[in-house]
């Protein structure tokens, strides 16, 4: 893992990534807050999206992703803060540009297909500036894209969930918006179709130079197609950056545990060593550890591929398998260590251990590890 560089005290005070490159930012949120009655859905969000990039909002359910997209589209008015599109303020204390004037397309989380129109008519809905033939051609093109040729004459209620989602996607792509907002656009699609479509969509976006903001709960999707990823938590921005940076250098415990099946090892920092329940390691294991920490308790981030478990006899073992999870290409064993920490170990199919079996867990990471002050 040659390129891995871990953050250090970032853990102590994650620095907000404000408007980065104002120059080529086409979309900017500045201190945006949205309240529904006493409920605050989005808090003081500042973020900028660069021209032509695909930014993905990642975050747990209910963290404010849909709300953010709706504000960008002009469907919801921020309670506070300013939104600008191409350097023009579209929502602020005194301005509000309506949705239809923003040139922003959106794929809704719940599709919102027009029930009174056929699939073709739905897709053609935004093609008001093309004449009949050109529009027809474009619709055919898009139906092909979403792998639904020949279904144009159905009505939305005659489609399966995934098919509806694909029509919603085709409908929003049709008029070639400058900015496209995608709210979990692939959530109802099977892996194969999802992978195909997201790459196809990415290709289209890139070719047309469309700037896009998408929402997904699929970490793999976020990491694999996005130019940058923004992680939200409870209405606040936790971290924004390119996928590798965010995955490899999570700035907060939240980000670390949200991306990937993170586990944490409790550790005591000694003067030269770091002591964990699976062994003592050199202090250099922990990236950027300042001197002052001697004696402190920390949580060390360990991902499934950082650890390996081997069956052992009761006496030597330092943990027990509590769950065995089959993911197809590999198994992930959940191991409860003697001190109660639960960590996960990734194994390719080879080993076959059973739940309840005593194991010895070893650290196999060849890179230094991120850590966070002990919680609670």
């Amino acid at each position: 893992m040659a390129d891995s560089e871990l953050t250090t005290d970032a853990a102590v005070e994650p620095d907000r990534d404000g408007p980065t490159d104002a120059a080529d930012a086409v979309l900017e949120l500045d201190g945006v807050t949205k309240e529904y009655g006493s409920e605050t859905a989005v808090t003081d969000l500042s973020l900028s999206v660069r021209d032509g990039e695909l930014l993905t909002l990642l975050g747990p359910s209910g963290c404010g992703k849909t709300t953010t997209l709706r504000m960008l589209a002009g469907l919801e008015r921020p309670s506070d803060g300013v939104i600008s599109l191409a350097d023009e303020e579209v929502a602020g204390p005194s301005t509000f540009v309506e949705a239809q004037s923003r040139g922003v397309g959106i794929v809704f989380q719940d599709f919102a297909l027009f029930p009174h129109l056929s699939v073709r008519e739905n897709v053609a809905f935004g093609l008001t500036d093309r004449d009949g033939d050109a529009a027809d051609e474009r619709v055919d093109e898009l139906l092909d894209l979403v792998d639904m040729p020949g279904m144009g004459d159905r009505s939305p209620d005659q489609l399966s969930g995934g098919q509806q989602q694909r029509v919603a996607l085709a409908r929003s792509l049709a008029p070639e918006p400058d900015i496209l907002l995608l709210d979990e656009p692939f959530s109802n699609l099977d892996v194969r179709l999802r992978v195909e479509m997201r790459e196809e969509v990415r290709r289209i976006l890139k070719e047309a130079g469309v700037t896009a903001v998408s929402v997904t709960h699929d970490q793999e999707e976020a990491l694999s197609i996005s130019d940058r990823v923004a992680v939200l938590n409870d209405g606040r921005l936790e971290q924004v950056g390119d996928p590798e940076a965010v995955f490899e250098h999570p700035e907060s415990r939240f980000v670390a545990s949200f991306l990937g099946q993170a586990g944490f090892l409790s550790a005591r920092v000694g003067s030269d060593t770091v002591d964990t329940s699976i062994g003592s390691y050199d202090r250099t294991l922990l990236k950027g550890l300042a001197d002052g920490y001697a004696g402190a308790m920390v949580d060390v981030l360990v991902r499934p591929d950082d650890l390996r478990a081997v069956p052992d006899n009761e006496a030597n073992a330092n943990g027990t398998i509590v769950r065995r999870q089959y993911t197809g290409p590999s198994f992930i064993y959940h191991v409860e260590l003697d001190n109660g920490d639960v960590v996960r170990c990734l194994h390719n199919h080879a080993e076959d251990m059973t739940v309840g079996e005593p194991v010895t867990v070893d650290l196999v990471a060849d890179h230094s590890l991120a850590w966070y002050p002990k919680q609670g």
Binding site: A73, G74, L75, E98, A99, Q100, G103, V104, G105, I106, F108, D110, A112, L113, F114, P115, H116, L117, S118, F125, G126, T128, D153, S155, D157, Q158, R171, S172, P175, P177, L181
Partner: protein, 535 residues
């Protein structure tokens, strides 16, 4: 894709191929049969006279002219009602119009003004020598546009029947899925374009349901055309049934002609309103309010002018007459208002209850039988009230003498006449309830009845309330059946108004007319409060 086809497919998709339970069909059929009794009476009476005469009637001098007159009137009234009712509904549901609740009640109220009173007051105010002409004369205005004839008749009928369209459109808008408008707007459609392309097609069933009621009203009304000097179809029937020694069944036979036209209108509506609201999804999100901005003023002016014409003119003129009549000291007995309120409430309740099976069945089934049951309920509404009353008098003397001229029979007559108003609104609300919700309830162990009670009913409550409001308001002002079927001594607001007007005491009619509008306004507030869920 033809709407019917789409509808059929949808229904197979959502409801399974199996038709709704047999019990619902039986219930709906029973209700339809029940309210078709007068039709049966009518047929029997007409056959006593002999259907052979029908051909002769059709070829009579002027028959065709009058038929054309009626159709032309129906056309303009329907169009006018849509042009007035739909904007008002949109303004009160989807915009930030100041005082929306107030305007909602005010916009619905003209329905309680009996159209013949409306016509009188209009003639009085706007006739060639009317008060307006008097007022304008000093200003050098010599002629004001003639109020008599087609335009006057159409104007008055529009002003007093547009609330049908207003109320049904409102119900449709209230249950409309706002996310769809959002989707259209993000596809670069202005609010207006989105309204045209998304909202309109989806509220169309609601609009046509109201337009149908207005059209059939225009067809069956006698008073207004007659006051406004426009010859229509119903005139013959009225004269016939008010003449001595008319051969038995003659008015009934005349009504058969009218029924033929009604059938055509119903078929026409079926084409336009087809598909009904079936594929309208009830949205979880209300469409964002339209901010009127400076348009607020023209919008307010529109609402105010409709209110002025449809409420201000009749009430103003009545009050003026009252003032003029000065010397007439009279007592107004509250029991009259109480009688009106009682029978109207009973009719509204009964009609809402009976409408549920018919509307539920029509909404969930595509069978011919369901269409038939649904359409049959409209017949009583389209036949002039006197004819219904005659048929009921006939039936009760023949088969149920203990009911003859009793309040229950009167309420039944109201139900026969106004049931479709409830059926129409309830049906569109049922169609707007996502069938998945009932399915969810059933998989959670609820019987179809339980699912109906706990899920469907609360969701269609606004539609049921709107239907009840329509029945209530129209019953309050119903005259012919009230006169003919009430027990002796049972007086209601309208029969009282009719009485004092007949005595030439137009002024004395002002108080009961004001009471009529006041009582109705209060009940409207109560009924509209039912819409809480839709806010």
């Amino acid at each position: 894709m033809a709407a019917r086809e789409r509808l059929a497919r949808l229904r197979t998709a959502v409801g399974g191929d199996d038709e709704p339970g047999l019990s619902l069909a039986v219930l709906a059929g029973a209700v339809a049969a029940f309210v078709s009794l007068p039709l049966l009476g009518l047929l029997v009476r007409a056959s006593n006279y002999g259907f052979g005469h029908l051909v002769g009637l059709l070829t009579e001098t002027g028959s065709l002219d009058v038929l054309v007159n009626s159709l032309v009137l129906v056309f303009w009234v329907t169009l006018g009602c849509v042009l007035v009712g739909v904007p008002l509904a949109v303004l009160t549901v989807q915009t930030d119009l100041p005082g929306r609740r107030f305007w909602t009640v005010v916009a619905a109220l003209p329905l309680v003004v009996p159209s013949y009173i409306g016509a009188f007051t209009f003639v009085s105010a706007f006739g060639p020598q009317g008060d307006l002409a008097d007022a304008l004369a000093p200003l050098g205005v010599e002629r004001i546009p003639a109020i008599y004839g087609l335009h006057g008749t159409a104007l008055v009928l529009i002003l007093f029947t547009y609330p049908y369209v207003f109320l049904t459109t409102r119900a449709a808008l209230l249950s409309f899925d706002g996310t769809l408008v959002e989707a259209a707007r993000t596809l670069n459609h202005s609010r207006w374009e989105a309204f045209k392309r998304v909202t309109v097609p989806q509220i169309l069933p609601g609009v046509t349901a109201g337009a149908l009621l207005a059209a059939l009203y225009a067809l069956s009304d006698f008073g207004t055309p007659s006051i406004m000097r426009y010859e229509v179809f119903t005139q013959q029937i009225y004269v016939a049934q008010r003449s001595l020694g008319v051969p038995e069944g003659y008015p009934a036979l005349l009504s058969m002609q009218l029924l033929a036209v009604v059938a055509v209108v119903l078929a026409l509506e079926a084409r336009i309103g087809e598909g009904d609201a079936s594929y309208v999804s009830r949205g979880s999100r209300q469409p964002g309010q339209i901010t009127l901005g400076a348009w607020k003023w023209p919008a307010l002016a529109f609402c105010a002018s409709v209110a002025t014409l449809a409420l201000g003119v009749p009430l103003g003129v009545l009050a003026w007459w009252f003032e003029q009549a000065g010397q007439a000291v009279f007592e107004f007995e509250p029991v009259v208002a109480w009688n009106s309120l009682r029978v109207a409430a009973a009719a509204a309740l009964a009609a809402s209850l009976l409408a549920l099976p018919v509307a539920g069945y029509a909404a969930r089934s595509t069978s011919l039988f369901s269409t038939l049951t649904d359409r049959l309920t409209y017949v009583g509404y389209a036949i002039p009230g006197v004819v219904v009353a005659l048929a009921l008098l006939y039936l009760s003397t023949e088969f149920a003498q203990s009911l003859y001229k009793t309040v229950p029979l009167l309420v039944f007559a109201y139900v026969v006449r106004f049931l479709p108003q409830a059926v129409g609104t309830v049906r569109s609300s049922v169609l707007q309830v996502d069938p998945k919700l009932t399915e969810a309830a059933r998989t959670l162990g609820r019987s179809p009845t339980g699912a109906f009670r706990n899920v469907t009913l609360p969701l269609i409550a606004p539609g049921v309330a709107a239907g009840a409001a329509l029945v209530f308001l129209t019953t309050m002002k119903e005259l012919p059946a009230t006169l003919m079927l009430s027990p002796i001594g049972f007086e209601t607001l309208v029969s009282y108004i009719w009485l004092v007007r007949g005595a030439g005491s137009y002024g004395a009619a002002a108080i009961p007319a004001l009471v009529l509008v006041g009582v109705s306004a209060l009940s409207m507030v109560v009924i509209l409060a039912q819409e809480r869920y839709n806010g």
